[in-house]
């Protein structure tokens, strides 16, 4: 029994359980809404949302669908990492959406306007995101502008700026509101696949962006927890003044953090738009949801870079699953509804942990009067 309480006391186990409960609540409410709309197909619909690509009948079709989901998971993961990295340093990077826009705008401009190759486009997109992040950081460090506020402003400024830049002839398709496709205009700007697409039934949009995103997630985890640099950043997040007193340059750290966060989000946009999966619509008048979904994935992933890999995949999976349900009966936005409820319940994570600890403590008290002493002994072993 002792070992069991120890297991549930672990923070990692608690945040995993918290995330699972959030998911369950989200799915349950989603299911009830489906039942209310039409009880007959609700079971099948929630199954489709959850299983997504696994509902495809043949092997190749299944792999192709999985490939599509993964292609969209990689930018989501990058945005989530961006938010996660900054949050660990005590900064709420709501500007990830804008940094993502900047990355998309510059990457596509380099690809379609300047006909550069994929690597240059990708790096340019990353730098654009980083620049935007650094602006937010500098405003915070030197002018005490809250990063949430400057992030929101920059999200909108960047959206319209990118729309304007990408409307130029040679970049935008004259017959539609979208930018030209990379495959017809500049195939060298498409991120290479190195044979990966063969694994996914020749899904041409599957590129090395996917494994790269996972590697970056691991790298972020290592940087944050195993290096002096990461330690300094986290110390700045805990207490700016204490960090300054300890000889850390807290202003520089804030700017660097948001620049890295911005770079991650910008890179994410490059991963998506340079895979040739989709084009930018220059008439869009709302900030793309990717940055906000990134916030959802971050918190669902327990604010852990590795957890974020799984949560990003999960969120993208149910989003794609939503587009597969019978649209004559159910709206595909049901997935967005589920995601939104999941992120709302994630807000209760701290409370949940508290409850759990209180429950464990109470149970231990009741079952064994000297449980604490035993637990301490167990801890020493």
């Amino acid at each position: 029994m002792n070992e069991k309480t120890g297991f549930f006391r672990k923070p990692a186990v608690q945040s995993l359980l918290g995330s699972l409960i959030s998911i369950l609540i989200g799915l349950l409410i989603g299911f009830v809404v489906l039942l209310l709309i039409n009880p007959a197909g609700a079971g099948a619909a929630i199954r489709t949302i959850l299983l997504n690509f696994m509902t495809k009948s043949s092997g190749p079709a299944l792999m192709k669908a999985l490939g599509n989901t993964l292609v969209k998971t990689s930018p989501l993961l990058m945005c989530a990492l961006s938010v996660c990295f900054c949050y660990k340093v005590g900064l709420f990077n709501i500007g990830a959406a804008g940094q993502y826009e900047a990355g998309a705008g510059v990457a596509l401009y380099c690809a379609l306007g300047l006909h550069l190759n994929w690597f240059v486009c990708l790096v340019a997109g990353m730098l654009a995101g980083a620049l935007l992040g650094a602006i937010s950081g500098a405003l915070k460090a030197y002018r005490s502008v809250n990063e949430v506020i400057s992030g929101i402003m920059l999200n909108w400024i960047t959206l319209y700026l990118v729309n304007t830049i990408l409307t130029a002839p040679g970049i935008k398709d004259p017959t539609s509101p979208y930018t030209l496709t990379l495959s017809t205009t500049n195939p060298s700007a498409i991120i290479p696949s190195f044979g990966l697409s063969a694994l996914f039934a020749n899904n041409k949009t599957v590129t090395i962006a996917i494994p790269l995103a996972v590697l970056i997630a691991v790298a972020i985890w290592v940087i944050l927890t195993k290096t002096k640099f990461g330690y300094e950043l986290r110390a700045t997040g805990f207490n700016k003044d204490a960090a300054k007193y300890a000889g850390m340059r807290e202003k520089k750290n804030i700017i660097i953090t948001l620049a890295i966060g911005g770079g991650l989000a910008g890179l994410g946009a490059g991963f998506l738009f340079l895979s040739g999966y989709m084009q930018w619509s220059v008439t869009q008048t709302s900030v793309p949801g990717m940055g906000f979904n990134g916030i959802a994935a971050t918190f669902l992933g327990g604010l852990h870079p590795i957890g974020t890999i799984f949560s990003s995949f999960f969120i993208q999976n149910i989003t794609d699953g939503g587009s597969l349900i019978d649209k004559a009966v159910y709206p595909s936005q049901i997935s967005d509804l589920i995601s939104a409820i999941i992120i709302y319940t994630c807000g209760f994570a701290a409370f949940f942990r508290q409850m759990m600890n209180a429950f464990i403590a109470k149970k231990a008290d009741k079952n064994e009067p000297n449980a604490n002493a035993v637990a301490e002994e167990g801890g020493k072993k």
């Binding site: 809404v33 209310l36 709309i37 709420f92 709501i94 405003l139 002018r143 005490s144 502008v145 809250n146 949430v148 506020i149 400057s150 929101i152 402003m153 920059l154 999200n155 909108w156 400024i157 319209y160 700026l161 729309n163 304007t164 008048t285 709302s286 900030v287 949801g289 906000f292 916030i295 959802a296 918190f299 649209k327 004559a328 009966v329 709206p331 936005q333 049901i334 967005d336 509804l337 995601s339 939104a340 409820i341 992120i343 709302y344 994630c346 807000g347 209760f348 701290a350 409370f351």
Partner: protein, 313 residues
Amino acid sequence: MLLLIQYTLIFASVLSLVALGGCFSEHSGVINLGLEGIMVMGALGGALAMSRLPATTSPFVIVVVTILTAVVFGVVYSTLLGFAAINFKADQTLIGTAMNMLATAASTVFVRAMNTSVNPNNVSTEVSYIATKPAFIVKIGGFEFNWFMLIAVIALVASYIVLYKTRFGLRLMACGENPQAADSVGINVYKMRWAGVLISGMLGGLGGIVYITAGVSSWKFDVGVAGYGFLALAVMIFGQWKPTKIAMAALLFGFFRALSYVYTGISWLASMNIPSTVYIMMPYIISLIVLAFTSKNSKAPKAEGIPYDKGSR
């Protein structure tokens, strides 16, 4: 020119209503980033009321019922923020973001399900309220006076009086500045913060219906309210959390938004050939610059965003 004034006033009405909502919430100590979502819900409530009321109803009844429904929807939705941020001490930025996502998703799902239940082939997310919309408008020459403009002015004056001239308002602001001190003199901080959040729900919901009836007579709910909630937050900060300055900021922001719609009709502006996106970006750029110069001695409530814990010192 008349059109420019009309648009400026109606957009300023939207922005000042929602910004005042944010103002009440933040003065009580809760950051309301979910204003965008609250607007969507208010818009949904108001639009449903307008589409259900028969066109033969007297204009007065239409106006009152629409406003009440929008307000109720906004207030009910804002309880999501109050519950999480005040009672459960959740991260307010996270909850606000979730509320914005949830409002758009939920209203889209709801409107689509409703449309499909009436006509199985109708999969749109649109609510039309063309029949009852004229109830809000009084034509004075070429100028279309909208009752919402009057309501925005009333809300401004009322907010000013409530915040600065009543015991309730001063206590509310105390909870956003120093909740521990407020508690020590017997003010119930939790109650005050709930009041702030619910008032922001009321004004935000109202702003939502004003926004979607401003220029059009039907609304597609999958686009939400296109960032007006965030623009209102900018107005609130630009207005330094004070009703009078918020009114000025709303007029300025509303003016630029109106310009982006009507500049083609003003010959010297049209001849400059500036794309409409520039006018749309203007308010954001101006507020960012102003913030950069004024944030050092910001007038923001000192304790905003920090969950109140009775036990902490």
